[in-house]
């Protein structure tokens, strides 16, 4: 009797409590796993912040993940902006210039083209789409090496335009925008504008563009980050230090680290310079993340 009672009639709350307890255990395990992955992601960033406070001597003697006794941020900052002819301030200004101008123009160009691809059935439309998708497969060297020669012959080499113009060709942006237009702008709306006597461009500017603003913000951010992070193209096309973006400048400093006779190795400057180049994004990223993520995902999912 007592056995039957114990086995058969359970306190209804105990099952719920057990379920809650398993849920809590699973939450602990799952969140723990996620935290391990977060350590992998954040450790180098944390290291960068700590290491940027150290002098060369401290970098080699103090413990890796802990600040040294004396924080050398002020000295390092002063050195960062004065060493090697004070080029670093140009590199920051250049990176901003390349990224802002490229992102603005690439967004405009890609939006127009994506709109045309989505809303007009002109001849060769499929060919254009194939070219856009196919261009993802072409290795950057197959373009950059001949681009160097072509820009050399036309005098574009080592100029701001020389770097910006090729970056305006943003096939992924066009592709993304054509998907976005097809999704956000109903054909009937454009037709209605035409019936009301609007020209093609007015129809685009007055009716479609406002609907496309979220997509354009996403495109701007993607192009901005892509340009800010770009290394190969400016490395090949630029020869003058005052025109470098941060990536090319810092890699020039990094390449002197192991070279005998290259002067004082610039460890603290490279480290602090790296931090300065990621700091704006580190701060802005929480606010921009959803726009960026949406764009990437849109391209991947609708692309199926």
């Amino acid at each position: 009797m007592s056995i039957a009672l114990r086995a058969g009639i359970r306190d209804p709350n105990s099952a719920g409590r057990r379920a809650r307890r398993t849920h809590r255990t699973k939450t602990t395990v799952a969140t723990g796993l996620a935290a391990v992955a977060a350590v992998y992601v954040l450790a180098p960033i944390y290291w960068l912040i700590v290491a940027s406070s150290k002098s060369t001597g401290q970098l080699f003697s103090s413990s890796t993940f802990l600040p040294a006794g004396h924080l050398s941020w002020v000295e390092n900052f002063r050195m960062l902006f004065s060493v090697d002819g004070g080029y670093f301030k140009y590199w920051i200004a250049n990176s901003i210039l390349y990224a802002v101008v490229t992102a603005a123009l690439a967004t405009a160009v890609s939006t127009l083209c994506g709109y045309a691809l989505a809303k007009y059935r002109f001849r060769g439309r499929r060919l254009v789409l194939a070219l856009v998708l196919g261009s993802l497969l072409v290795p950057s060297t197959a373009l950059v090496v001949p681009l160097f020669l072509l820009e050399h012959d036309s005098g574009l080499i080592n100029s701001y335009q020389g770097v910006i113009l090729p970056l305006l060709v943003y096939p992924f942006g066009v592709y993304l925008m054509s998907l976005f237009v097809a999704d956000a702008v109903p054909d009937t709306l454009v037709d209605a504008a035409r019936v009301d006597g609007a020209g093609e461009f007015t129809a685009f500017w007055k009716v479609s563009r406002p609907l496309l603003m979220p997509g354009m913000v996403t495109l701007f951010l993607l192009s901005f980050i892509g340009t800010w992070n770009n290394y190969f193209l400016p490395l090949v096309l630029l020869g003058t230090s005052t025109r470098f973006p941060i990536t090319v400048g810092l890699s020039a400093w990094a390449s002197d680290l192991n070279q005998a006779g290259a002067g004082q190795p610039l460890y603290p400057e490279v480290i602090l310079g790296s931090l300065v180049s990621v700091l704006p994004m580190l701060i802005l990223f929480p606010f921009l993340q959803k726009y960026i993520a949406r764009g990437l995902t849109f391209g991947a999912i609708v692309g199926e």
Binding site: A116, S135, P139, L143, L147, V174, F204, F232, I301
Partner: protein
């Protein structure tokens, strides 16, 4: 309206690409038409092919690990057992905003025994013999590079997958739960099959990215002298700009483009046979 794009595309994409083909058919010394001279050189160039093989080895391991990690983390964050989901999603995605060059510098310093005292610990404890463990030595640097590239792109891929998971109908998951399916079973049997095309897409993008690796080997060569022909793109860059042989470099980059197309196409071929959306293969087997 696509006028501006097409003009720019023609000038800064099509023209260089066509010029690349023209260049690859010219003699490096005389610049006269030389037929397949440069291509014969590419075929017989051991350095080029070892760079390709190195990247194939790199890609098979790194892309697999990274995609598995991205899938794992996306399913983890999509499960009901996570606290602080948004914070984790933000943290994982952040490396996307870090330039590849900066990521390589950062990790390169972090993995250098001189700068990283933690790396000396196993040696001090007598766990390694001889010199202290050096992840940037020629033998290990390929794994160090896998660690770096995975750091850069796992979160990016996770982000795409996580958003893609929101398209899985919640009713399906709910009815699964009522039938007593565990979360693990739901993830494996329902969620994963529903995002398989997105998985295929990010895998293809990753394969293309591997064959085009440039920033990381260049920076690691600056920090740890691993050679200037470690990856195909790095080798092509040096052929053109250190040795001034743009013709051979053009031929190498065309061959690399063909290999990229081949790798992508064969991956899609395998995927088609494995997942077989039309059920053709299964019928054939019977």
């Amino acid at each position: 309206m696509s006028g501006p794009f097409l003009v720019l595309y023609g000038l800064f994409f099509l023209a260089p690409f066509v010029y690349s083909i023209v260049l690859s058919l010219r003699n490096p010394q005389t610049d006269a038409f030389a037929g397949l001279f440069n291509y014969r050189n590419v075929v017989g160039n051991g350095e080029f092919w070892s760079a390709i093989v190195r990247m194939a080895y790199f890609g098979v391991i790194q892309v697999t690990v990274m995609i598995a990690l991205a899938i794992g983390l996306a399913l983890l964050l999509d499960s009901p057992f996570i606290k602080g989901k948004k914070v984790f999603a933000l943290a994982y995605f952040f490396p996307y905003a870090v330039p590849g060059v900066i990521a390589a510098v950062m990790w390169g310093f972090l993995l250098q025994p001189d700068l990283d005292n933690a790396l000396k610990v196993p040696h001090a404890l007598g766990l390694t013999s001889g010199a202290a463990l050096n992840p940037l030595s020629y033998r290990f640097v390929i794994y160090a590079m896998m660690l770096i590239v995975t750091w850069e792109w796992a979160g990016y891929n996770m982000t795409i997958l996580l958003t893609s998971l929101t398209s899985v109908p919640r009713e399906v998951l709910e009815s699964g739960r009522i039938d007593g399916a565990s979360e693990l079973a739901l993830a494996w049997r329902i969620k994963l099959p529903m995002i398989r095309r997105t998985v295929a897409f990010i895998t293809v993008i990753s394969i293309i990215g591997t064959l085009q690796l440039f920033n990381e080997p260049v920076i690691l060569n600056d920090i740890a002298s691993i050679g200037s022909s470690y990856s195909p793109n790095q080798l092509i860059y040096n052929t053109a700009f250190s040795f001034g042989n743009e013709q051979l470099a053009a031929a190498q980059s065309i061959v690399l483009a063909l290999i990229t197309v081949l790798a992508t196409a064969s991956f899609y071929g395998i995927m088609r046979r494995r997942f077989d959306p039309l059920g053709l293969t299964r019928k054939g087997r019977r």
